[in-house]
């Protein structure tokens, strides 16, 4: 989809190459993996299934411990399940549920720039001031234990803006669309040493 190119462009901006691919061998041979995504959870899981990528991703990320960055829907997909358009099972890498913003007062989607409070140290946030603004656009959020949270955002209710668990990193916001600080996150991810 559209934002694949944006993500690729952000890596190019910091002098790294990124390949857009659903080819199993390219994915296996990559140094790191990024799963961006816009659209609906159910369709995305369906696509991952039909492309035969679920087992491969599990192997690359959970067994080989390849460094992974999920962005927006890509963060939601690593949860246990989502309630968008009925209940759908996710990749289940982090125990979490994807839930719709409940308040009737709120404008949905949550779209625009919002501050992220760094709740746990993360190499992704190196050289970025706490409470920096990042660009969000989503109607559902990642509901999980705060131990995994590295950033918290406030949209009437506090929700998890970014998570980290071993080799797995993910942001609900779009670093590739968040100008200077966002590009810094992309750079920080690309600098992470490959284990």
């Amino acid at each position: 989809m559209g934002n694949l190119r944006s993500v690729q462009k952000a890596f190019e901006y910091i002098g790294k190459s990124a390949i857009i691919s659903n080819d199993l061998s390219i994915i296996q041979n990559s140094a790191k993996l990024v799963l961006p995504g816009v659209g609906a959870f159910k369709d995305a899981m369906h696509n991952l299934h039909s492309l035969g990528l679920i087992d491969l991703l599990n192997e690359e990320i959970l067994e080989k411990k390849k460094l992974f960055l999920g962005i927006c829907l890509g963060m939601q997909l690593i949860a246990t399940k989502s309630y968008e358009f009925g209940e759908t099972k996710g990749l289940g890498w982090i125990d979490a549920e994807i839930t719709r913003f409940a308040s009737t007062e709120l404008k949905i989607p949550h779209v625009g720039w919002n501050g992220v409070k760094f709740s746990n140290p993360s190499p992704l946030f190196d050289s970025i001031p706490d409470n920096s603004d990042f660009y969000f656009v989503h109607s559902y959020y990642f509901d999980a234990d705060r131990t995994y949270a590295t950033g918290i955002c406030d949209y009437e209710t506090e929700f998890i803006a970014s998570v980290q668990h071993e080799n797995i990193f993910a942001t609900q916001f779009h670093p590739e669309k968040s100008q200077t600080h966002g590009l810094k996150i992309i750079e920080n991810f690309s600098k992470l040493p490959i284990c």
Partner: protein, 252 residues
């Protein structure tokens, strides 16, 4: 806290970016990629570009120039004008846009919004509604068909039901005049929708932005103010911050 966005909204015509007054009297403001580069350097919150040749003259969407502009953009980019099919949406997003703005094609066929939302997600559908006041009543305006007997709020409600992500609400009467947004129009939309509203047309000074935000606008779109006044996006945001509106932290 979610910040109010300040969004330059410019028009693409004959490979140039232009600015109009009441949807007419186009003036060139610059080369697309150079202009986008300046906006990007100024850290604007987002950018909207509407291709008026594509929508008016039925020309194909200029994906080449969209690609060039998107390559300069590290903030969200919305592209509109002449988008009639799912294939068009795909082409525009594939060129690097993050959202599409839909206007003419959805007026007669609001289910087009539903189609886009289903395939690409609501987050990428901005529904653009142009409004003109006729004998004291707000009516939907369309460049090729003129004034339509459609209530803009009804149309916005329909778009919301079809899965739109945002509403771009433009007053034709106020556009390019620099005398303030159409506050009456905004008032009629206040508390009526759950969708974020981007108000457009008429910002000539920062206080106009403050007026619109007080009446429930979520984001401010503008163009003339950035090109024909002393105000930069940064200065406008500073003034709004001083008035206690939540705006994005500025890079100092």
């Amino acid at each position: 806290m979610l910040k109010h966005r300040l969004i330059p909204c410019v028009l693409l015509k004959n490979w140039q970016l232009v600015k109009s007054v009441q949807f007419d009297a186009y003036r060139t403001i610059g080369h697309p990629t150079a202009t986008v580069r300046v906006y990007n350097a100024r850290n604007v919150d987002e950018l909207i570009v509407l291709d008026i040749d594509a929508s008016l003259n039925n020309e194909p969407i200029n994906t080449e120039i969209i690609t060039d502009m998107a390559n300069e953009c590290y903030m969200p980019l919305t592209i509109g004008g002449g988008i009639k099919t799912i294939e068009d949406v795909y082409a525009v997003l594939n060129a690097g846009a993050d959202k599409v703005s839909i206007n003419s094609q959805a007026i007669q066929n609001p289910t087009f919004i539903h189609e886009i939302a289903t395939v690409f997600g609501s987050q990428c559908v901005v529904c653009s509604i142009d409004v003109k006041k006729v004998d004291g009543v707000y009516r939907v305006f369309n460049k090729s068909q003129g004034i339509l007997d459609i209530d803009p709020l009804q149309l916005a409600r329909e778009y919301e039901a079809q899965g739109a992500g945002e509403i771009l609400l433009t007053s034709v009467d106020h556009e390019g005049m620099g005398e303030g947004y159409d506050l009456g129009l905004l008032q009629s939309f206040h508390h009526e929708l759950k969708l974020p509203i981007i108000i457009n047309g008429g910002m000539g000074e920062p206080t106009h932005g403050a007026q619109a935000l007080s009446l429930g606008a979520d984001a401010l779109a503008a163009a003339s103010i950035f090109h024909y006044s002393k105000y930069t996006p940064d200065m406008i945001k500073r003034e709004l911050l001083e008035k206690n509106f939540s705006m994005r932290h500025l890079l100092s």
